[in-house]
């Protein structure tokens, strides 16, 4: 028996990290479903904790880990393209409320970025943090590729995306009650616009119409932000 060869193999194969990543995500899904899909128990949070502990214990660096699971990262590209289908399926709702949708998308979309940036700026945060905050309301795959584009820190950006999603999903219903929001379409649209996929999962519980408008807002704001944010930031950097 050649134990040395075995240890060498285990240390060098990407399989270990692939199995750990897929396995911990699966475990995350099982726990999430056991607890009736509680917002705080997002599968990714559970996977995060497990993988982070494994990296700490083994002392493996992030670069080594990333190399092992790069194949998973690759699929962010086709997954972004895939987002066109749910957007297409909900596109028919645009016509009924065209002006409200367009105005809310642009005005509230810009406002949500500004308010978060102003808070950070007022509290003396550094530029990389501020840049990473600008993509917090769009769906994670688009946030990752857009944050790479604008010189932000993608991992920080994803973290902000997930937390924004969770806050919105947890507090959304109370906020809507407090603000006396009348239409389910408004609730859904706001959830999708601010809290992307996690907000949309929440909107499904409000009504079918809310879910459709949430998915619509998520798709539109993803495209809107990815198109204009890099342009605006390049312009600001040039000043």
């Amino acid at each position: 028996m050649n134990f040395e060869a075995l240890v060498n193999y285990i240390q060098s194969t990407p399989l270990v990290w692939l199995i750990l990543t897929l396995g911990s995500f699966k475990l995350g899904i099982i726990i999430y479903e056991k607890f009736n899909k509680h917002t705080l128990l997002q599968p990714i949070i559970i996977a995060y904790t497990i993988i982070m502990s494994a990296l700490f214990i083994t002392g493996v660096s992030y670069e080594q880990y990333f190399k092992g699971v790069e194949i998973i990262h690759f699929f962010l590209g086709p997954a972004t393209v895939a987002l066109a289908l749910p957007l297409y399926n909900n596109l028919k709702y645009i016509k009924s409320l065209f002006i409200p949708i367009l105005l809310t998308l642009v005005v509230a979309g810009v406002f949500s970025i500004l308010i978060a940036v102003v808070f950070l700026w007022a509290l003396d945060a550094q530029l990389p943090t501020i840049l990473s905050m600008t993509t917090k309301s769009i769906t994670a795959p688009i946030a990752i590729i857009t944050s790479e584009q604008i010189g932000a820190i993608p991992s920080l950006a994803v973290g902000f995306v997930i937390i924004t999603g969770i806050i919105g999903a947890l507090l959304g219903t109370s906020i809507f009650k407090f603000m006396k929001i009348k239409h389910d379409t408004s609730k859904g649209f706001a959830l999708g616009l601010i809290s992307h996929g996690i907000g949309t999962a929440r909107a499904i519980e409000i009504s079918e119409k809310a879910a459709a408008f949430s998915a619509l807002a998520m798709g539109l704001s993803g495209i809107f932000t990815a198109v204009f944010l890099p342009l605006i930031i390049q312009f600001l950097k040039g000043l």
Partner: protein, 116 residues
């Protein structure tokens, strides 16, 4: 499902090519997404193989961003230094933005209804 996966990859490829060729700042996959949206509008719908390819990608979407998300372990410095700024910005930024978006959408919807 293979035809569907090929379709997604081709649109991503086209998007990336357009971004490179015209030196666009928009990420290539997002251009691919817009191209596929136009494709679906022109075709007036999807096809079963594309449906299943999309389903499998979106079903496990959070899994796909774990590799990028784990990079957070290299950012412990920023997070510990700017924890409160980040915390306040995320919490209050999200609450205010959510309240504002829903109210604006509601206001505009009611205004449109009254016009009719």
């Amino acid at each position: 499902m293979l035809k569907g996966i090929i379709t997604l990859l081709i649109f991503q490829f086209l998007g990336e090519c357009i971004a490179k060729l015209f030196e666009l700042l928009v990420p290539g996959p997002v251009i691919g997404m817009v191209l596929m949206l136009f494709f679906l509008i022109l075709r007036k719908g999807s096809f079963p193989s594309l449906d299943s390819a999309v389903f499998i990608h979106l079903r496990y979407l959070p899994l796909l961003f774990i590799p990028a998300a784990m990079g957070i372990i290299t950012q412990a410095d920023i997070i510990s230094k700017e924890f409160w700024a980040i915390f306040i910005s995320l919490l209050f930024g999200t609450i205010i933005a959510l309240a504002f978006s829903a109210k604006l959408m509601d206001y505009l919807t009611i205004k449109q209804e009254n016009k009719k």
